[in-house]
Symmetry: C2
Subunit: 199 residues, 2 copies
Amino acid sequence: MATRAPKTKRGTARRETLLRSAERVIGEKGFAAASIADITRDCGAALGTFYIYFTSKEDVFRELVGMMGSLTRRMMTEAVQDAPNRLEAERLGLRAFLAFVAERPSLYRIVEEARFVDPDAYRAYFTGFASAYATHLEKAVAKGDIRPGDAEVRAWALMGMAKSLGDRFVMAAEKPDLDRVTDEAFAMIRDGLAPGGAA
Amino acid sequence: MATRAPKTKRGTARRETLLRSAERVIGEKGFAAASIADITRDCGAALGTFYIYFTSKEDVFRELVGMMGSLTRRMMTEAVQDAPNRLEAERLGLRAFLAFVAERPSLYRIVEEARFVDPDAYRAYFTGFASAYATHLEKAVAKGDIRPGDAEVRAWALMGMAKSLGDRFVMAAEKPDLDRVTDEAFAMIRDGLAPGGAA
């Protein structure tokens, strides 16, 4: 089921164009309703062109989920690379994730639909992400950057938080205010809900 | 599109049986792959019986999402009713939610699939839940039970955390350890990640 890699620069560009159309069309209509004809129509390509680069709708879908994986990771790594410590990395990472949802809402929806359309790709996406995240959290505990605690539970909890905030305050918001949402959520991540302390 | 309410005790029981079969079949196969024939076969009913109580597969699906809404709320209310304060209510509520996912995994999957199958029902489910949750958090701030902060952002963040933990440590776990996961996640909810303080 390997996707068909193009050999020329022009081929790479056409494949990329098809991928962006697939992202747009599947993100809007959902996997079941979106047809390959919808995808090629979206970018003005002939139906047959699709099959030069992909074997099926399932194939392009899996590629989009994988693409979301690499894009999210790269974007998060860049966003947090200058953070002086893990707490600041958490804040920057959350802000960057919300900005990504705002920029590529279709890709975000596609990953969520993968739970039903391609459960293996869905699991691979989140398990891979969580595992890298947990490693960062473990290192931060070892350095005394954050309070001790189970890194895997924390990683999944924090990912779920970010996803839910993306749903409500980006996807479903008329005017997303990413800074405000990030600040409010980060305050809870940093200090918790218990009164007293550094409030 | 109102579902057809039965008039007799026997009718109520049959409708309930069909609902449980729909929950099982749609939860396992997904909405698109599950047929009404699969549902009636699951409980040994005649195909026509389905249409005495429901108008369509969409109809029974919407009812299941609504049912998940009422069940979750009732279960959460019961779980936290004896909590001496909001922090303890957070711990008990999270534990109860994870136990519910363990008990009714199909219902949980159905609500997640509603994002694609019935977006209005999906939105209604989470918006309703979040709104009640935020009210509790606001009251807790007013009482000094928890640190001040935006109740809506917190409600969505905490819901997302619970969902993600349910995905990873209940649905995808071989041996779910609800107490351990609850304790670890609750420690972060209560105290945050910042070092020092009440660790």
